[in-house]
Symmetry: C2
Subunit: 249 residues, 2 copies
């Protein structure tokens, strides 16, 4: 077993087929939609027989999971590489870079956000779990940068976990809108908006409502919104002054 065929090694041929299947999957899942693409169609477009398909993947979902993982990895790699380059920069620049590179990577091909944030949603428990893993990774990433900013005094010292999760949610949500919107939303504006959102979220003082002159909660909000009015219950590391966001480190 394992003969070199057609001039190329068998593993190479195998890898080629796999690659072609993934490419075809990306294309069809994002145009026809995952639900409505048939395995035979993927095979046809890839120029691969169904027999070989099942040699590489266990089914349609396997292809989708692989693509989902790849796209996230690609983005994370890009971001990590770029952040290494600006290792010494100030915290805010790093955060802006993180976001710009992320946006630039995933909007380079609209099929990426389409697959990741639309087609791969609600497909199976495994995929939801995989999504969750990636959300956690990204959130940790963001929270780490925010904490770094706090150390440098350009952001308040607090727990950024939830803010980070919210920002990941904002990113996925906004990109979902971006790839679906008609007329198309300009990438630069979307990137700018998300970046501004991120910076504002991280630099904001702890109690934003108290800032102007409002005593606390809105007036007549019935049973619905009794909760969610105060800032945070326990587990904060103490009252921190609002950290003069302005003068650098």
């Amino acid at each position: 077993m394992a003969r070199t065929y057609g001039g190329v090694a068998p593993e190479q041929r195998r890898a080629d087929r796999r690659e072609r299947l993934l490419t075809a999957g990306l294309e069809l899942f994002t145009s026809t939609g995952f639900r409505h693409t048939k395995i035979t169609e993927v095979c046809a477009r890839a120029g691969v027989s169904t027999r070989n398909f099942y040699e590489e993947f266990t089914g349609k979902e396997d292809v989708l999971r692989t693509l989902h993982d790849r796209i996230n990895s690609l983005a994370l790699d890009h971001v990590t590489a770029e952040l290494d380059k600006v290792a010494g920069a100030d915290a805010m620049t790093r955060i802006a870079t993180l976001l710009d590179v992320f946006i630039a990577t995933v909007t380079a091909d609209p099929r990426m956000p389409r697959l990741t944030y639309v087609e791969a949603v609600g497909v199976s428990a495994e995929l939801e779990a995989q999504h969750q893993v990636w959300v956690d990774r990204w959130a940790n990433f963001i929270a780490a940068e925010a904490s770094r900013a706090a150390e440098h005094g350009v952001a308040p010292v607090r727990d950024y976990r939830l803010t980070a999760i919210a920002l990941v949610g904002a990113g996925t949500g906004l990109l979902r809108e971006w790839q679906a919107h008609d007329p198309p939303l300009p990438v630069e504006e979307v990137g700018g908006e998300l970046r501004a959102l991120m910076l504002a979220a991280i630099m904001r003082p702890e109690k934003i409502l108290e800032m102007p002159g409002n005593p606390g909660a809105p007036s007549g909000v019935e049973e619905a919104s009794r909760a969610g009015v105060r800032g945070e219950p326990g587990e904060r590391e103490g009252p921190v002054p609002a950290a003069d966001a302005g003068t650098g480190p």
Copy 2:
């Protein structure tokens, strides 16, 4: 035709069946998942025969679409009603109310965000279109409140359309995380976070990066992020002073 049966009119019986089918659909779609729930299961749980099912709906997707619409309508109704109550309040209170009521409504039953932001995603072109319609409605709503805040001088005067879309995306994304997260995220914190995000996004000055002391873009960002660095290209209505977000109207 049209006899009164079991004491109730035929339209009533019909409506009851429809209602039971919707309830069963909500339950099963959010537990088993839309993909994996069979029509017969919905019928069984609802105590309705398949025959009657097809009398009410054209198929599984029809049920899903109806539920999606209902949930959004419910939330919008709640928000509208509550905003009417605080018609005279200051702009920031109104925005906070809008958000609190929305969050309170959709988190009252975790199946709602699960259905709307997970199960109903990527199912069909029609559903994506329906999602888009709702995004637009919500975005208009938010943009209107933001503009109102601008008129009152508590936020800069600018175009809030994209910010509003981003905030809708943030809400959907965050709620998706909320309903999926393990260990569960406390509702109050999620609500507080989203509200802070919203207020920060609306009150933020126009050029957030220039604020500290950074000249502009981050340093060595290669081909990936050439775009999205500058603030906004054209179509702004003129240089607006950063609107003293602090002193009330």
